[in-house]
């Protein structure tokens, strides 16, 4: 993975840049000691690291605006950061940049049940948004696996999803409005506590733009009344193909569970060793979660049982208690941790049409043998969002490079199968150089023209999303 050569002039001007920032921000909001900025050298894609010039941690929208105005004036690139949990390197700094972290902006500004929204500062963590309304019987639907740690600003940047988006949609479907600060330091209100834009859908454009169009400091989010209950079933199968066919049949039957999760044998074996969830010994398993009152869940699970029976499952386990439900989810929720125990891993995020599931899984198996690296599959089957985990050893010379190559092959496979490079993690630096597999030059040009509108000098997170060759002339100007 390559980053642009740092601007030596900016590196040399670090003391002046820091001094100017201290003129407009409180003393403790500007960090320039390399021992302290080291904490910001990477995000959750920790294989790639780079120390920034400095880090700023503003407390208000006005401070964000003041800092951006100044950095714009001085021509300093800015890398926005929520909680730093990006798996795509979305908040990885570049050497000549200032990281703008939103962690201190985490207040709840307004809760309105009558109009079903909450307004928060964007540094607030995903789970604590639900935490603010849970006691009154409400929740915020998008639930990325990192929801305990990840921030709403990052969720908006990457248009994050989660396990339950089959029913509730992803971030963009649950976002009503934002306060956006442009690179020039202008504060703009987009959307609000009403539905849909009057003019062009700028909100839809901002969500998922990976911090390249502006810094979101506040967000108005849709909240929902909590369903009366939820219950998962676990269904084990003796082949991936059959499990895939069962998913399609459940969907065709008109049942819309809130989640359909899939794990293959390597993943089942690893999680069993890690957390002893008591999963059956089988090739693949599905976890299907239904919501509603007890009787409604019974009705849905009855239908799912009938459909599954036609596929001769090796096991159909229905949770009879909260404890059993938790055990069904335990292995799935521990999957990444379990893999981390075995080895280093790279987590991919391609999406494929659900109908291509058996083909893609078979082909991943072949590629895994070819490259000599194990791959475990755990993913959101209902919407085709795959998370192949490639196991490698960072201490073995050449392993990391082999892993990157295998990852690229798998993502190309997803695109060939009619899908895309990333379903919910974002492009960042990780998938940046694969963008031309999915997009023609004209497609990328159209997207870059959008950045030209919001950030004409290309200072916001400039080395992300677009292949460096494609963005070179814009970044240089």
């Amino acid at each position: 993975m390559e980053m642009p050569k740092p601007d030596t002039d900016l590196l040399a001007r670090k003391p002046q840049i820091v001094a100017r920032l201290r003129e407009v921000l409180p003393r403790d909001a500007v960090i320039d000691d390399p021992n302290e900025t080291r904490a910001y050298e990477c995000d959750a894609l920790s294989a790639y690291r780079c120390q920034p010039l400095a880090v700023v941690l503003p407390r208000t929208t006005a401070e964000v605006a003041a800092a951006l105005k100044l950095l714009h004036e001085m021509g300093v690139p800015v890398v926005p950061r929520g909680a730093g949990t990006s798996l795509a390197g979305g908040s990885m700094p570049q050497a000549d940049s200032v990281v703008m972290g939103l962690a201190r902006m985490n207040a709840v500004l307004e809760v309105d049940y009558e109009n079903r929204f909450i307004r928060v500062e964007a540094g607030r963590t995903n789970l604590s948004v639900t935490g603010a309304v849970e006691a009154d019987g409400w929740f915020y639907a998008p639930d990325p696996s990192s929801q305990l740690a990840c921030a709403i600003s990052g969720n908006i940047g990457m248009n994050s999803g989660g396990a339950h988006c089959l029913k509730y949609g992803v971030t963009t479907n649950n976002l009503l409005g934002v306060t956006l600060v442009t690179m020039e330091g202008e504060v703009i209100e987009v959307g609000g506590a009403y539905l849909d834009a009057g003019g062009l859908d700028l909100l839809g454009l901002i969500c998922g733009s990976e911090g390249q169009l502006g810094i979101v400091t506040e967000a108005t989010l849709k909240i929902l009344p909590k369903p009366e209950g939820a219950r998962p079933v676990l269904i084990g199968f003796n082949s991936n193909e059959v499990a895939g066919a069962c998913v399609a049949d459940i969907i065709r039957a008109g049942i819309l569970p809130v989640a359909i999760e899939f794990m293959d044998r390597p993943c089942i074996v690893a999680t069993e060793a890690f957390c002893h969830a008591g999963y059956p010994d089988c090739e693949s398993l599905l976890i299907v979660e239904c919501e509603g009152s007890a009787a409604e869940i019974d009705e849905q699970i009855g239908l799912i049982r009938q459909i599954a029976a036609a596929h001769e499952p090796v096991e159909f386990r229905e949770a009879q208690s909260a404890d059993e439900a938790a055990r069904i989810w335990l292995g799935r929720k521990s999957a990444f941790g379990a893999m981390g125990q075995i080895n280093d891993y790279m987590c991919l995020d391609g999406t494929i049409p659900v109908s291509e599931l058996p083909f893609v899984l078979r082909r991943i198996g072949e590629l895994s043998k070819e490259f000599g690296l194990d791959v475990a599959n755990v993913f959101h089957a209902g919407d085709g969002n795959m998370h192949p985990l490639i196991l490698y050893n960072a201490n073995t010379p050449g392993d990391m490079e082999r892993c990157e190559k295998l990852g690229a092959e798998i993502l190309k496979l997803c695109v060939e199968a009619g899908g895309c490079l990333t379903g919910e993690h974002g492009v960042g630096v990780e998938k940046r150089d694969l963008m031309d597999v999915q997009f023609a030059p004209a497609d990328l040009e159209a997207q870059m023209r959008v950045k030209d509108v919001f950030d004409p000098k290309w200072l916001l997170n400039p080395a992300k999303v677009f292949p460096l060759g494609a963005s070179a002339s814009r970044r240089a100007s």
Binding site: Y194, D201, G204, G292, G419, C420, E424, A440
Partner: protein, 360 residues
Amino acid sequence: MRVESEAQLAEAIRDAGGALAVRGGGTRPVGRSLGAPLEVGISGITLYEPGALTLVVGAGTPLAEVEAALAAEGQRLPFEPANWGGVLGVSGESTVGGVVAANVSGPRRVQAGACRDSLIGVRFVDGRGTVIKNGGRVMKNVTGYDLVKLMAGSWGTLGVMSEVAFKLLPAAPAQTTLVLDLPAGAAQPALAAALGSPFDVSGAGWLPGQGAVVRIEGLSESVEYRVGRLEALLAPFGPVRIERDAASAAIWASLRDLEPFIGKPGDLWRLSVKPSEAPGIVARLGGEVMLDWGGGLIWALLPEGSDARALAAPYSGHATCMRGSAGVVFEPEPAPIAALSASLRAQFDPRGILNPGRMG
């Protein structure tokens, strides 16, 4: 001119000597229409996978054709697109591209999202005549910027769509509507109570001749259960009448297509607002109204020449003059938003030939 392929569409735009008035079926004559007519007749279902809940379709395909194909598999477009032809006084066949260009969402918007939320991919030709694709045919996709959302509701001013892809939902086997005999100005608190319940309400509005209406859809036993719970919840607002299946469906078709307003004189306004503001706005507007989206969408039939924005103020959100003589059709935007929008149009359509002035 009528184009029937993407290549023809690209050529027509490249060769255009001046403004083009882009249209699908011509059923949404909202805003100014200047220039030589360009009708998008790129028609037909490219791909339909019921097991993956996805559909890819030519932008000029009649909406009715799409809905029939989906109904045959027990599925539907989640956002319940409206037919405004009747109330806007035009004939013609609504196309899916037109639905997307206007981001038309019906009553189920409160539960299943807007048209733009179901739209997962587009192919379009920009003002230079370049073919551009964005999104795809899978329902989770964050690869690059979301130009799919930008195209929805852009009224053909950024590019002309040749193909669109949707995620779908299973059609509900049963539906029931709870009806409360309340005046329009008193409906919103009851609708908010229903939408704030865990019973997955899929429609909440008010229409003349009925009153406040709340819809439940799903598997039949589940619908019965939730209707029972909602009946108790809504009892404090007044007596509740129950309408099932076909009778229930008729209520929502009437609200969706604004049937009570068809053939009536006056200016038709559409206001998207914070729902709790609805009672005040309804009182200030006077005239006849219909409510959807729990009060968040107000349709108002006002005397000719009325300025609904002045009458309704203060409100958050936006008002559009759908039919009438008002000078400003779309809500004027704050300066920074207007500047960004103008700049986006200049990037996508540098010659300013695609539906110029359509959105004001």
